[in-house]
């Protein structure tokens, strides 16, 4: 703290006395860089350095015990030509993203519209709907989900009451992934809150004018709500998709860390974890991490490219 005080008191120093541009530069920039220091250290030592290191490791064979052995692009080649579990994990993750994100956002938007415009009890409903998002990724919720969809769980005992004998959702590879999709949709609360904030920005008189002109609610939704909300929809879409690509805990807990049954819940991150920390193929896992970055980057870039067709800014 003493350092901050001495370094960042430009006005107490004799200006120009120290001479030279260096003193001037320190006087003008010293305080800024001192406050920035924690992040700068973190950025170089814990983000940029490790990221570059993992890029290098992705071209090596590295088991943590002996030094990394450079093998060129073999890790990447193996991924696409000789690794059925990689293909399985890509497939599982894409299905999960493609189902959970649109469903979650549709649900979030629908509920936000029902909640819109300062209705009575709004804080209560909003809190209830938000709660699952907050508890979201804890192990306890994954435990709960396992029991909900177990062979003798809540879902099946409800189904039994209407005479349906449900399967064992979790241990059936045809259904296990969908239980995770349901879990994700259940956590629609945080995009809903963002939608609510966005809806509040739309002037009420636009709807009033539209009503007077005889526009049906559907038309109002398509012509007013969707266009004016499109930046928020876009934002939620990108954030939720990236989060969905990174999902880990539910699949880990529900499958006991295996990604089973028959790789049906082998999320990409779970596969990466197994390669790194169960089999200690650190080089291969680094390559997997970089492929994830590329996938997310391509997705984000592609999303931004499409914005000019459907996202309206400042209309």
């Amino acid at each position: 703290m003493a350092a901050y005080d001495t370094m960042s008191k430009p006005d107490t120093r004799k200006q120009g006395a120290a001479g030279g541009w260096l003193a001037g530069a320190i006087r003008r920039n010293g305080a800024g860089y001192l406050f920035l220091a924690p992040w700068l250290i973190g950025f170089f030592c814990l983000t940029l350095g490790p990221a570059l290191a993992s890029l290098y490791l992705s071209f090596t064979n590295f088991d943590l015990l002996s030094a990394p052995e450079f093998i060129g692009a073999q890790n990447y080649v193996r991924m696409v030509t000789a690794d059925p579990r990689f293909i399985a994990s890509i497939r599982v993750t894409l299905v999960y993203v493609a189902l959970s994100v649109p469903l979650k956002l549709a649900f979030a938007l629908a509920v936000a519209m029902v909640l819109n415009r300062g209705m009575r009890g709004l804080p209560f409903y909003r809190a209830i709907f938000y709660l699952p998002s907050l508890l979201g990724t804890s192990v306890a919720i994954a435990v709960l989900w396992r029991q909900l969809f177990a062979a003798d769980g809540l879902v099946n005992s409800l189904l039994a009451q209407i005479g349906i004998e449900g399967p064992s959702w979790i241990s059936n590879p045809n259904y296990s992934l969908y239980t995770l999709v349901v879990l994700s949709v259940w956590q629609f609360g945080s995009p809903m809150i963002i939608f609510l904030a966005g809806l509040r920005q739309i002037p009420t008189d636009m709807y009033e004018a539209a009503s007077l002109d005889g526009a049906s609610p559907t038309r109002q939704f398509l012509r007013i709500t969707l266009p004016l909300l499109s930046p928020v929809i876009f934002f939620n879409f990108v954030i939720q998709t990236i989060e969905a690509f990174k999902a880990f805990t539910p699949a880990f807990v529900i499958s006991g860390g295996s990604g089973g049954p028959i790789n049906s819940t082998l999320f990409y991150t779970l596969y990466l974890y197994q390669e790194a920390f169960s089999y200690f193929r650190m080089g291969y896992a680094s390559a997997l991490a970089w492929v994830l970055v590329v996938i997310i980057a391509i997705f984000t870039a592609f999303s931004f490219l499409t914005t000019k067709y459907w996202v309206h800014y400042d209309d």
Partner: protein, 291 residues
Amino acid sequence: MTDTVHDMPGRRSAYPRLTGGLRHAVLIAISFVMVYPILWMVSGSLRPASELFGGDAGLIPSQVTVQAYRDGWFGLQVNFGRFFVNSLIISVLATVGNVIAASLVAFAFARLRFYGQKFWFALMLGTLMLPYHVTLIPQYVLFRELGWVNTWWPLILPKYFAVDAFFIFLMVQFFRAIPRELDEAARMDGCSAWRIYRKIILPLSMPVLATAAIFSFIWTWEDFFGPLIYISEMSQYTVQLGLRSFIDSSGTSSWNALFAMSVLSLVPIFLIFLFFQRLLIEGIATTGMKR
């Protein structure tokens, strides 16, 4: 199909199809479905072990007992009290680090001027999008070289270097909205940057500091991946790891004890939610980030 619904005086509902009563009915039904699984878990945790949960989708146990809590608490070689203390220490230290580091850095970005500011800010925003998997393995190697595997350092120390750009971004947004005249007046009076940070910005920023602290605490508390890779000795476990090994050791035989410990693990988050939900909701609405 009437358009005469007024939710508030002078305001007209944009979506007149759902009239007041019906709207509440729909919302209550959704709320019920949303919360039911959690209530079912709480109810399950209060049932005797003999009462199998299959066949009973109801919420009322035939007999209420806290036996499951006793069984769960002492269910592993190390009792859950230890895990709670561990999680609490880690979460508090991580939260302190996050708030201090992020507020310092956000102050630099929002209130100071220095060469390269825009460049660093853009880089900082860039790291928001970067999946942590990219840094995972070299970080693991680094902490392993330092002899920190099986300690809490890898879970705590990075927070003191503001590695989670979300918190910086959150605070920059808030700091920028504080009138600049305050800084300028203080600067005229010969205040250093440090004093402006301490005496002007921080006191005016309590809401955003609290929001950051709450999110930071909850995310550290719920973090599973970090402890999973760094901590292997049971006496060092967090609550989330404790739950996980409880699943492995007990199978489905003592599901009610598992439920009991799951419920307990959610209690701190639930309490925070109860007292600070406004801050949480505003935090999400303003930055629009994450969960």
